[in-house]
């Protein structure tokens, strides 16, 4: 009887120590490197660099404000999923990078970005620099002329999930339902 109790205790102690060791062991880097260093402007007119992606997790989306559909839908979905997180909400930011820097000036983003809630940053700047950043991220975009003059953009609508080291650990596809988006964001912040 005592022997059995001793064995159980030993087993318990072992698993607890194993668990603690895993918690405290310096973890190896996860995720993939993505993007490149940059210096651009955020929606409040402040200078923003690649350092925005370190220190907390990010959901990164490329789009444009003349987009009626997928950009507001995605930003709303992300903002709602972030809001639905029971904890760790403050460890997650949403970053929107424009693919239409000519029309999406700081002035335009200043109105657009805060509409989607807290912890959302819009990035714009000199067109050539912004578009270089988009290329560094492997983004596809193409101008489509509309019948009334003007143009719209076809573009990569994938959301990139970055850990607090700014390394990519996953993506959200446009077709994924809100509960999947929420689960992915939850996983992203609980890993931190």
């Amino acid at each position: 009887m005592w022997g059995l109790g001793f064995v159980l205790l030993l087993g318990l102690a072992f698993s607890v120590s194993e668990y603690l060791a895993r918690q405290w062991m310096p973890r190896t880097q996860t995720g993939f490197e993505i993007g490149a260093p940059f210096q651009l402007t955020d929606h409040t007119g402040q200078i923003v660099t690649e350092e925005i992606f370190t220190g907390r997790a990010s959901a990164v989306f490329f789009g444009f404000t003349h987009c009626p559909e997928i950009c507001p839908t995605t930003l709303n979905d992300l903002a709602n999923a972030r809001q639905a997180l029971a904890e760790g909400r403050e460890k997650l930011q949403i970053v929107f990078i424009t693919l239409d820097p000519e029309r999406d000036t700081v002035e335009v983003l200043k109105d657009f970005i805060p509409y989607f809630g807290e912890q959302v940053t819009g990035i714009t700047g000199k067109p050539e620099n912004v578009l270089e950043l988009a290329r560094d991220w492997g983004i596809f975009w193409e101008r489509i002329q509309t019948s009334g003059g003007g143009y719209t953009l076809d573009h990569t609508a994938t959301v990139f999930l970055l850990n607090e080291q700014g390394r990519m650990t996953g993506t959200i596809d446009i077709a994924e339902p809100p509960d999947v988006v929420e689960a992915k964001l939850k996983k992203l912040v609980t890993r931190l």
């Binding site: 559909e69 709303n76 657009f112 019948s147 076809d154 990569t156």
Partner: protein
């Protein structure tokens, strides 16, 4: 339309001959009144014949996407049920807050979202329901002259061929989509059988 106006023209040529007659001259105001009445009657009866709703087009969940301040574009969604006995094609839309409106569809192609105009219009076959929903078909409103704020209501006019124009209220909402009722979600692709109990969705 064209045939009617040419026949009126031929008629007026003949009438001119009679107009020279002094008796007819007396009756002229009376004849003019009669003509005006005839025109009035024609105008009065035409819209009744062309009313899409009475002919069997039904609209549900008509919504507009609320916009951030100064946003240049918005999207409209609704569900169209056709029981008119023939295909009805949605060919255009117009709204008081937008300079231009188009009917758009989206294509999702390996992570890239493509949006394009449905140039020949959106055909709704008889006895079918077609849903315009987020991430898919939508009415695209461009060059907005104001911000669309949650809970505003706007009249949007839709033009169908052959049945004509319909104007109906669209509700502005931040998160457009089909209405959720009693924990039940109406999703894309449902057809006729769903449509009966959906009528009371709309009343609240």
């Amino acid at each position: 339309m064209i045939s009617r106006s040419t026949s009126v023209w031929v008629l007026s040529k003949r009438v001119k001959k009679y107009m020279a007659n002094p008796i007819i001259l007396y009756l002229r105001p009376f004849l003019q009144c009669l003509a005006a009445l005839a025109v009035f009657l024609v105008l009065l009866t035409r819209p009744a014949f062309a009313s899409c709703q009475t002919e069997g087009l039904k609209f549900d969940h008509a919504q507009l996407r609320a916009t951030p301040p100064n946003a240049p574009v918005s999207a409209g969604y609704l569900q169209i049920t056709n029981t008119t006995g023939q295909t009805q094609t949605l060919v255009s839309a117009s709204a008081p807050f937008a300079k231009r409106a188009q009917i758009h569809d989206m294509k999702h192609d390996s992570g890239v979202m493509k949006m394009y105009e449905i140039e020949r219009g959106l055909a709704v076959q008889d006895r079918l329901t077609v849903a315009l929903m987020p991430k898919g078909r939508h009415l695209m409103f461009m060059d907005l002259d104001r911000q669309l704020k949650e809970d505003d209501i706007f009249s949007v006019t839709l033009e169908f061929v052959p049945c004509g124009r319909v104007t109906l209220p669209f509700h502005v909402t931040r998160l457009p989509g089909l209405v959720h009722t009693q924990g039940e979600t109406h999703t894309k692709g449902h057809k006729q059988k769903d449509h009966d109990h959906k009528q009371h969705d709309h009343s609240h």
